[in-house]
Symmetry: C2
Subunit: 245 residues, 2 copies
């Protein structure tokens, strides 16, 4: 059983020139964020960096030290620009080489004679890492300490995350409530600010949407404190009713 | 006329708890990246941070020093959690207050008597900044030195970016070519790596897509060197033809 802890934090590191150039639109950040949220893990930071070793290694070192978990996507394929595994090894100062357990996993898909030099790159795993399963394309992700290395192809990443989630420590779930209002943000922000000041353990968000020439506002409150949650919810409903008159 | 320079770099900083929790899926990063790419500005890094002053200020300081431009989205509305303008002022060590030119812009939409304390928060602009136009909701963005501060609501951000783009220095455009192939990444990665080694001024990307149980691979080459571009393209086409036989 995992130790009960209030807050478990995480960062996401997306690796790839194609995201930074806008040629491919990232679909992984929102997916990972949503699934970690459901598992009571708080994503506190996201970075997207290019396929450049120095940038990747720096980001890994900083983010793995600052948060409980780091999840990376991208850069673990067979081509010359797939350097994530090497960068993780460098960030941890450990060796990296083709590993037999990774080759075994790939033999679920490939014949041994088809495992050319390029494909064997995908079996290069840093020393001490454990494999993350890949039932889609059978080239493994891996976990080294608190860093989880996943593919960038969304369907493969989804399968890897499914393998990873049960292994993670979970924090306490947020209690969350959202309110769809027809109010204008500028009309509710002062009373909302007063409620926010009253309940310092609750975070309140206000999200305007622009549609057909009109702004509406969604309000969201989140906290891990049950008592404050109930009291703040009463205040929020009263405020919305009062302003909607 | 802008000075002719080879490379202009940029970072994007997305500010907002709602993106990190996965409740709202970011649509701004890809949009900004694509438009900067079209304007020959290279996005080299993206960060997403929560609505926490220390994190925002740190990220602004680091990114504005490291790249030619920094573009932020989010946190410039009227509510208590909209702290981006204050964080930019803090990152530059300048004062911030309600500014009459920002109020003037808002008077395009609001009557003066409707500009309550909350709405006037949106007219708080750091000293020395120039305003960015907002023809959608009339609360300005702003530019301070090399930092451009934009709204998080996509339609408003789009309008602000349109106002900003003509003001930016541009680098030299990348020459880019992409090749859709039915090849497997593992089969082409060795010859692709050889071409990549031959043309060090060209960057080559290889992007597998998984659809209906099958992987296909898109190859992309980018460079600012015209001669290498032509020669590498010939080699790429020859490689693809040879492997497709």
């Amino acid at each position: 059983m995992q130790k009960a802890i209030e807050t478990v934090t995480a960062a996401i590191l997306v690796i790839g020139d194609e995201i930074l150039s806008g040629r491919i639109k990232d679909k992984n950040i929102g997916y990972i964020a949503e699934h970690l949220e459901q598992n009571a893990i708080d994503v506190k930071e996201v970075r997207i960096v290019p396929d450049e070793a120095d940038e990747i290694i720096d980001a890994i070192r900083i983010l793995k030290a600052k948060y409980n978990y780091l999840f990376t996507t991208g850069g673990i394929g067979p081509t010359h620009d797939d350097i994530t595994a090497d960068c993780v090894a460098a960030a941890f100062n450990v060796a990296i080489d083709v590993r037999e357990d990774a080759v075994e996993m790939m033999l679920n898909k490939y014949k041994r004679e088809d495992l050319n030099e390029a494909r064997l790159r995908m079996a290069r795993i840093p020393e001490g890492a454990s494999l993350v399963n890949n039932p889609i394309s059978f080239a493994p992700g891996f976990q080294l300490d608190n860093v989880f290395v996943m593919a960038g192809v969304p369907q493969v990443m989804h399968a890897m995350l499914e393998d990873i989630l049960p292994k993670l420590a979970k924090g306490k779930h947020y209690l969350q409530e959202s309110f769809d209002t027809n109010l204008k943000e500028g009309d509710l922000s002062k009373p909302l600010g007063e409620i926010a000041q009253k309940y310092s353990a609750v975070s309140f968000g206000s999200y305007p949407t622009y549609r057909e020439g009109k702004f509406t506002t969604k309000l969201v409150m989140r906290t891990k404190n049950e008592q404050d949650f109930k009291a703040a919810k009463i205040d929020m409903l009263a405020m919305i009713e009062r302003l909607s008159e």
